[in-house]
Amino acid sequence: MDLLNAFVALANFVLIPGIAYGSQLALGALGVTLVYGILRFSNFAHGDTMAFGTMVVILLTWGLQVLGVSFGPLPTALLALPLGIAITALVMLGTDRVVYRYYRMKKADPIIVVMASLGVMFIMNGIVRLIIGPDDQNFADGARFVINAADWRAMTGLSEALTLRTSTVITIVTAGLSVWALFWFLNKTRTGKSMRAFSDNEDLALLSGINPERVVRVTWIIVAALTVIAGTLYGLDKSFKPFTYFQLLLPFFAAAIVGGLGNPLGAIAGGFVIAFSEVGVTYAWKKVLGHALPDALEPEGLVQLLSTDYKFAVSFAILLIVLLFKPTGLFQGKSV
């Protein structure tokens, strides 16, 4: 029995990956929830838009690498991020102008707008595959580890190693900053408050002289920023593959619904609920339990509840439970 080693193993395999993944999901779910709150439809193109934005960042990163620009120990992609966000924001504003605005003016049924988002999804997916192809792309550079296993063992003398990858630290820091900036914007600025007002009560917002088109534009720009950041962090942490990004739609939606659609705080909480459930259920607990329990009780099997291939089932199960027992989510969401 060795609780310290057990905790290190837990931190290394569950807590740290869970926090990193949760941050990525939270940023993605925030995008879904903001579009839902302001534009009032479920955006099925979100995953593919994320793939698009990340692709732009990857291309810019490659360009910078060719030019010999580097960001020291940090990944070059972070330098490419602002321009990537700007380009993606322009594309999203263009999409809104060409596709969504028409349905907004017509006050079309939300489900029709969802259909239109399917069309956007196809096009984004097609563009990404045309430009960068359907395969895995690795674009992480800079230092790989903040703490590697050997250093850790030398430092602490523990048998269990705690490794801290650069991408994990960057994910957590960047996501934290982004969320802080978003909430500062929503709660402290005039434009941010007008967005909340519009999401809360559209008619009254119009009566108060809030310009709906401006709110929509600002929303797309913020969503572009969140989406590109989420996609880049996910790509740095794991890898970039268009199809995987499409599939992230499910955990994003699950996180947004679990937290309460339209509620930004809920989206963040939902992201972490989904991430920790996924990691917890698909992790083989043998190692942690082996340290934590007396030798006599040491488990024989892997103590893995579900194989990692079933991580979607986890999002799905949580989604169903929430839909059945609390359809407005943990934090009160909209029920349009």
Binding site: K193, R196, A197, D200, L204, A205, S208
Partner: protein, 237 residues
């Protein structure tokens, strides 16, 4: 007599392409006055107010604000022209704090609105205490105060209230009426639709009884309260 500050004159119209709900209906209000629209259910009271506010298609008639013809303007444009409107329901931002609600009321203003905020807090002291609370958590009467306060934040030239006392208790209703009188005393014209005809007529400087979308009786509140026919048909004797 000079033309009233705000007047909806000879209004005939309905929602969208639907049938006319108003028939040659005239509503007006002057500074310092409280004008009240009363009448039986379905008489078109709220519709008349919405017509003045531009939420209705007028086939005939016009709306003048301070002598300017605003018939063609959208509700949003009328807000900018100085009309403050408090809808009957969904009239606050429930997820936002009281203070934020008031700030949103001042959204179109580019000048410093802290004075107005102070005035609203003086008028409705309870809102100052609850300024950091989400408006959705307040009681019915307090929510109505937030709603009126939000409309006042635009520094309107005229305040329009659609059944401000719907669903609140009689005590709260009396308090709300007191506040509305206070608002009117500052010189701001107040136009309101009321279900509680008797109490409303008591405070009205100018009152309209509508029946089937047309003016049935017009006069001061006192005159109408004294009018035998009005008493019999609307006030239950």
């Amino acid at each position: 007599m000079s033309a009233p500050f705000l007047i909806g004159e000879g209004m005939t119209g309905g929602y969208g392409k639907g049938p006319a709900i108003l028939n040659d209906c005239t509503i007006a209000v002057n500074p310092g006055e409280i004008a009240v629209i009363v009448g039986p259910n379905g008489a078109g009271k709220s519709t008349a107010m919405k017509a003045v506010f531009g939420m209705l298609n007028l086939h005939k008639g016009r709306v003048l604000l301070d002598g300017e013809d605003i018939t063609a303007l959208s509700p949003q444009q009328r807000v900018i022209k100085g009309m403050g409107f408090v809808p009957q329901t969904h009239n606050i931002f429930t997820s936002m704090t009281v203070e934020e609600n008031l700030e949103m009321g001042a959204f179109i203003r580019t000048d410093d609105f802290r004075d107005t905020l102070e005035q609203v807090f003086t008028l409705f002291p309870i809102l100052r205490d609850k300024r950091r609370q989400a408006a959705g958590q307040l009681s019915g009467g307090q929510r109505q105060q937030v709603a009126v306060g939000r409309a006042l934040m635009t520094k309107p030239k005229v305040l329009m209230l659609d059944e401000p006392t719907a669903g609140v208790s009689p005590i709260v209703m009396d308090e709300l009426f007191d506040r509305i009188i206070e608002v009117a005393r500052t010189g701001l014209p107040v136009l309101m639709v009321e279900q509680n005809a008797r109490q409303a007529l008591e405070i009205a400087d100018r009152a309209y009884v509508l029946v089937q979308g047309a003016n049935a009786h017009t006069g001061t509140g006192r005159e109408l309260l004294a009018d035998a026919q009005v008493r019999q048909s609307f006030l239950g004797g």
